[in-house]
Symmetry: C2
Subunit: 190 residues, 2 copies
DNA sequence: CCTCCTGTTACTACCTGGTTATAATTGAAC
DNA sequence: GTTCAATTATAACCAGGTAGTAACAGGAGG
């Protein structure tokens, strides 16, 4: 009796995670119980009503897209000495990994390094010109990638930047980025 | 008279694009008109009610996250001869560019090339080992990047793949990726 | 002057997908 | 057979709408 209820509630939770767009009516039909029971179950599980669920999703997505849009640096910038040195940290979420292997897709490591390198160059028009990178070890879901970048050389408007990313002190990615500061150069930008 | 209405409707459209979470009540107060007027305006503009708007957002986001999660290849795969050759196309949306300059962030070009290169290697465990890339020209908002990748060499489990991305026939990005097929190698994957 | 037309407003009935609370029913366990 | 938890039913209420109808205000044209 109680077990049936436990089971139903477990399933309810799972089902709503899979498809949050179900009304109490549909759920009641699905489980073959009354709507009242579904409501009690939802209450017990702390699951808000359909409209609240969708509103929440829409709102978080809204802000997420906003923040992604403004995200100049991939990962969180934790240190930045302009023109010299910087550190950013990227937590490996499940959106960034291969589904099967849970290994971080390589281009995210590149993106972290690239955006940090571009941030080091104190210009609104820093563009990467070349890069040479090595993926030393695979990085897995839920790890934290600490990326370190240092300006090695500057000639005219071209910066050579060494990048080294580590997980738990072990290098997983390294590379050299050449970033050009094209401020005032590209007429087509206007 | 009619102009006031036009103006109000233009503003209404704009405001709801900025913040889709406003009820007719709030909008009426905002414009200093009655709720009925807001409803007529919405009807005329083909804007659905608050709940429909949020539901729509939540749903598209839901599927978007799903598809992003499963997105093994950045860009749309238009041709793929496994182990040999492939083409993918990436439309440059505003989420991918620098806000000020509207130039595509370099790592998206890298990501397109990298994921296409990995797709060429017919293995669920293809990992990029090295890459050497050149960003030849800036790519702008609303352009379409056509990326071509070809396997140049294969030694044991290592593939050397040449990548060339073009916009309107002009090369914007080129590089060489070394991808390793680690199937059956990494015990830690289990 | 009156009339017509447009834009706006007010009012009513109804809908969905809930909430809260209270009471009645079921069923299994002791 | 009683008892107690789980379930169900019932009623009143709410937000944020839709749909439709009627009234009103104000300027343009006759």
């Amino acid at each position: 009796m109680v077990n049936q209820r436990r089971k139903r509630r477990d399933q309810l939770q799972y089902i709503l995670e899979q498809d949050p767009f179900l009304t109490d009516d549909q759920l009641a039909a699905l489980f073959g119980v009354s709507v009242a029971t579904i409501r009690l179950d939802r209450m017990a599980l702390g699951i808000p009503e359909l409209r609240e669920r969708t509103k929440e999703m829409a709102a978080t997505v809204h802000s997420k897209l906003r923040s992604m849009h403004g995200m100049e640096v991939i990962g969180e910038l934790v240190q930045l000495d302009l023109g010299q040195y910087g550190i950013s940290i990227l937590p490996v979420s499940d959106a960034l990994v291969f589904e099967r292997t849970r290994i971080l897709r390589g281009h995210h490591l590149f993106a972290q390094g690239n955006s940090l390198a571009a941030a080091l160059v104190n210009s609104p028009r820093a563009l990467t010109a070349r890069a040479e990178v090595r993926f030393e070890r695979p990085v897995y879901l839920d790890q934290r990638v600490v990326c370190e970048a240092e300006v090695e050389e500057q000639q005219y408007n071209r910066y050579t930047i060494a990048v080294n990313s580590k997980v738990d002190g072990e290098t997983v990615f390294s590379g050299q980025f050449v970033v050009a500061d094209v401020a005032g150069k590209e007429e087509s930008l206007k």
